[in-house]
């Protein structure tokens, strides 16, 4: 198995490593960097528990090789808190009871925070479609939708202010 030298910036910090070409990005994050907030729920790119943002785009990190992310910017759930303050999407999930077991939550938040950046005022249907690549077994999605709406309102307030 050939190895490659890669350099990936995760939540603003650059990490260099020699990795096997087959190493998945999710395993690079979880095992090489010990950043276990990104989860694994399936092997078929179906559940979205492993969703992270790669150069801003939400992707399922179980379907990206670490070498493909060489030179790119990764943002994970661990990078949502800024200057000690929760991201509005984190607040939204807490305020609206958008999580139960918490396993899908990081992926859900990464997908929906990306949605709010490209569409600050999504309709309920737009939210539901945006998160349709992220499976949740606990909440029935209703409170997740409310959590995203909460975050949208909160972010709009900030923009106005």
């Amino acid at each position: 198995m050939s190895t490659h030298h890669i350099s990936i910036t995760v939540n603003g910090k650059t990490h260099e490593a020699d990795v096997e070409s087959r190493l998945l990005l999710v395993h690079f994050l979880r095992e090489n960097l010990n950043m276990t907030g990104t989860h694994i729920g399936c092997d078929t790119t179906s559940c979205g528990a492993c969703t992270i943002r790669l150069n801003g785009t939400p992707v399922k990190s179980c379907t990206v090789l670490a070498v493909q992310a060489d030179g790119m910017e990764v943002k994970t759930v661990e990078g949502l808190v800024e200057n000690g303050a929760l991201h509005p999407i984190q607040e939204g999930f807490h305020e609206k009871h958008g999580l139960q077991c918490g396993f899908c939550t990081p992926g859900m938040m990464m997908t929906s925070s990306a949605l709010l950046e490209r569409n600050p005022h999504p309709t309920e249907d737009e939210i539901r479609h945006a998160i349709s690549g992220n499976l949740c077994r606990c909440t029935g999605y209703m409170n997740i939708v409310k959590a995203v709406q909460y975050a949208a309102d909160k972010m709009a307030e900030k923009v106005e202010a």
Partner: protein, 782 residues
């Protein structure tokens, strides 16, 4: 002043702080120095002889340390393990596999990629054997025998009720109806799969097992029973259940992977991690349902239901790896008389072996209650349809009336409390039932298919009273230990284990209500057998009815002692003291009092002479009865004539779970429960081909609902407290999963009833609905 957040407070969850930051502590997040990884070789065949396992190539792979097979484990007599139903399950086979994806050998390596390489390098010579996948065929004479150690494929026969009277009542009945209902095999599919880290400490002969379990104490006892002959006794085993990424029943049983990991840690002396992938989870972990029910009802022409007769074939796969109370191999299936006042009933179930994955656990429900509710709620509609009665009317006519509680059912259960007509009326008002019926009539005249389905379910949860309930002999009481610290804060520990239900939040609210200590000052812990009081875990909606009761009772014990301390501090007679939440005061002199915080401090600094210091209590709560949550659901559907696609237009859910501890969490449980009722009704099924190849072993084939398909739920409530529960609560975690499927089916059948359709099995896929419509004469154009 810090808010108390007692009963009824929509307190935000304390668990969230770690989860929204990605700081949960799930099993796969664990990493120990020198930890090895276990991966498992699995059978491609549903039934085959293992002729030889070639391990040379695997062992030659750098980083692969060992291949463990059945004969290796046999040396230590741990190649088999008991199931929770006292059947036998292979940990690893000696010479035969009995279902596809069965564990064949374990590969131990330095990292997970190398372990997977090792699995790929193990070559196994199989000799395929005949396969039986259909439980009815399995019961035929001369059928392929699944188990070499058994006489036949028939596992057990169980029956309940008055057979003779029921048969007589059927013979003399004015109207009888009969349908075959298949409730297919499904899988809970928590988004986190199962796994463990086993760490054997040879120096101290001590095993720590971190594992995805809903019942850590029961697992500890089972491990001790399996390995006792090796000297691994219960005080040397510590089971820790970390944060669980969902459970729903799937994390109750012990799976072979856990045992192999323990064996591997003992053999190597290194910590061993085993994490299953999604296919292993779906194909080999315990499934739910798989009940073939022949259901009959008898009654009068004017719609009075009199008698019920259900006969069921339960497919358990190759071993009975269900998780039921020992006395009830079909769980509480005999709650199947539901919300109605039957004169007689008889139910029988036969368990059958097939060459399929073992199981028969609950899928987010209490012990076969969903199967029971599905059958009775469907059959009530079938009966109504036959006599031309409205689905709401027949229910109102046959409900157990509010004044009849406590009510003993024809099958012997004592229902604690209920107000069924109120819940249904409320659901009908929310739905605008009468208007919907008018609309349906108009639509039908235009050739459109619109249906309204009702399900008025009664659950039976909170196992359970020790006179009836045990698992492997272990009684199913609840447990709570509370310690109040000198500064008036507290820690409480429980024998249950949350998988997302929010116990850290809600248990604290019960104690806050009882003691007046703010919930924010009460830390709740579960899941560590070294620290928590013994308990049988969280499943079957038992946490609130049983351990929640323990929390209240332990709090009251503390209050009793607090009263004595208060009397001492106030120099008053105990009998002259009165309690208001958080404070004792002298009757008639409300100014003269002591807060629970002052009393707690005194318990450590100034307690009465002759009294033991400290302020703690433990309660092992043996419930006097089960609790019976109920509700009425109404589903409105429109069916596309051209495609058979069912559009869920509305779904109204009125739930009565008794006293609501935290309404925010109750609603969240209902949302999730409804979605897990919707899922099997419309999408989920695990089926097999005739060779025993599984269909549905990944999320491309086994469809979980996404946010797009999932309906928008409309919730309502009634509150009928449980008369025997200390705080009047009943439970809510599973009601919706139990009650919802029949509402979906009843709506679809209702939409097509004028064509002569009386039944449809779930999942109601567009193809199945289309075929049914067209078989009954519906054409593309009206």
């Amino acid at each position: 002043m810090t808010e108390i957040h007692g009963l009824g407070s929509p307190r935000k969850r304390v668990e969230d702080a770690r989860f929204i930051r990605g700081q949960g502590n799930y099993i796969d997040d664990m990493k120990l120095p020198g930890m090895l990884h276990l991966d498992i070789v699995r059978s491609p065949y549903a039934h085959a002889k293992i002729k030889k396992i070639h391990t040379e190539k695997a062992l030659a792979t750098p980083g692969v340390l060992a291949v463990i097979d059945g004969p290796t484990l046999q040396k230590y007599n741990v190649h088999n393990m008991p199931t929770l139903m006292s059947d036998t399950q292979m940990v690893l086979p000696i010479d035969t596999v009995k279902y596809q994806y069965q564990e064949v050998a374990g590969v131990l390596a330095t990292d997970r990629y190398t372990a997977a390489d090792g699995v790929a390098a193990v070559e196994v010579d199989y000799e395929p054997l005949p396969v039986v996948v259909d439980p009815f065929k399995a019961l035929e004479p001369g059928a392929t025998k699944v188990r070499d150690d058994k006489e036949s494929n028939h596992i057990w026969h169980w029956e309940w009720g008055d057979k003779e009277k029921t048969n007589k009542d059927f013979e003399s009945a004015e109207v009888t109806v009969k349908e075959n209902i298949y409730i297919p095999r499904i899988h809970v599919s928590s988004i986190e799969t199962c796994g463990c880290v086993a760490k054997w400490d040879a120096t101290n002969a001590h095993l720590t097992l971190w594992m995805t379990t809903q019942a850590p104490h029961a697992i500890r006892t089972v491990v001790a029973l399996i390995t006792g002959h090796l000297g691994l006794s219960e005080e040397k085993i510590r089971v820790i259940s970390p944060d669980l990424g969902g459970g729903f029943g799937g994390k109750v049983p012990a799976y072979p992977g856990y045992v192999i990991a323990v064996a591997a840690s003992i053999v190597t002396g290194a910590p061993v991690k085993w994490i299953e992938d999604r296919t292993e989870n779906l194909a080999a972990d315990s499934f739910g349902r798989d009940y073939h029910i022949t259901a009959e009802l008898a009654g009068t022409k004017d719609g009075t239901l009199t008698s019920l007769r259900f006969k069921t074939i339960a497919d358990h796969g190759y071993t009975d790896a269900a998780a039921q109370p020992s006395k009830f191999p079909a769980g509480m299936f005999h709650i199947c008389t539901g919300s109605y006042d039957f004169k007689s009933a008889f139910v029988e179930v036969d368990g059958v072996y097939t060459n399929k994955a073992p199981g028969g656990i609950a899928y987010r429900c209490s012990f076969r209650v969903t199967e029971a509710v599905h059958a009775i709620e469907r059959m009530t509609d079938v009966f109504a349809q036959k006599i031309g009665m409205d689905a709401a009317e027949i229910r109102m006519k046959n409900f157990i009336q509010p004044e009849a509680f406590p009510y003993t059912s024809a099958l012997g259960w004592e229902y604690d409390s209920g107000n069924y007509p109120l819940a249904l009326r409320k659901a009908m008002d929310m739905a605008g039932y009468e208007e919907l019926r008018k609309e349906q009539k108009e639509k039908r005249s235009r050739g459109e298919f619109m249906g309204i389905g009702i399900s008025s379910f009664t659950e039976i949860v909170g196992a359970g009273p020790s006179k009836h309930f045990d698992i492997l002999g272990l009684k199913m009481f609840g447990s709570c230990e509370i310690r109040v610290h000198p500064t008036g804060k507290a820690i409480a520990r429980f024998g249950t284990k949350s998988q997302g239900q929010g116990h850290e939040t809600t248990y604290a609210q019960i104690i806050a209500e009882e003691l007046g200590i703010p919930a924010d000052h009460i830390k709740v812990e579960e899941g560590d057998t070294d620290t928590a009081p013994y308990g049988l875990g969280t499943y079957a909606s038992r946490s609130t009815p049983v351990d929640g009761a323990s929390a209240a009772v332990a709090s009251r014990k503390i209050r009793e002692k607090a009263k004595k301390i208060a009397a001492h501090l106030l120099e008053a007679n105990e009998d002259d003291l009165e309690w208001e939440r958080g404070r004792f005061f002298v009757k008639g002199s409300p100014d003269q009092g002591k807060t629970i915080q002052e009393i707690a401090f005194a318990a450590y600094t100034n307690h009465p002479q002759g009294m033991e210091g400290g302020l703690e209590a433990v309660s092992y709560y043996d419930p006097p009865n089960l609790t019976y949550p109920f509700g009425s659901y109404i589903c409105v559907v429109d069916i596309d004539r051209g495609t058979g696609k069912v559009n869920i237009r509305r779904f109204i859910a009125v739930d009565d779970c008794g006293v609501r501890i935290n309404p925010m969490i109750v609603d969240g449980q209902i949302h999730g429960g409804l979605t897990m009722g919707f899922a099997p009704a419309m999408m989920e099924e695990i089926s097999y081909d005739e060779n025993g190849n599984i269909h549905g072993a990944n999320f491309m084939d086994y469809l979980l609902p996404t946010a797009v398909e999932t309906p928008k739920w409309e919730l309502g409530e009634t509150v009928t407290p449980s008369p025997h529960h200390p705080i009047g609560a009943k439970a809510i975690g599973e009601s919706a999963t139990v009650g919802a499927p029949a509402a979906f089916v009843n709506a679809v059948v209702d939409a097509l009833s004028h064509l002569g359709v009386t039944t449809i099995d779930i999942p109601m896929t567009p193809r199945k609905v289309w075929e049914l419509m067209h078989k009954h004469g519906a054409t593309l154009e009206e």
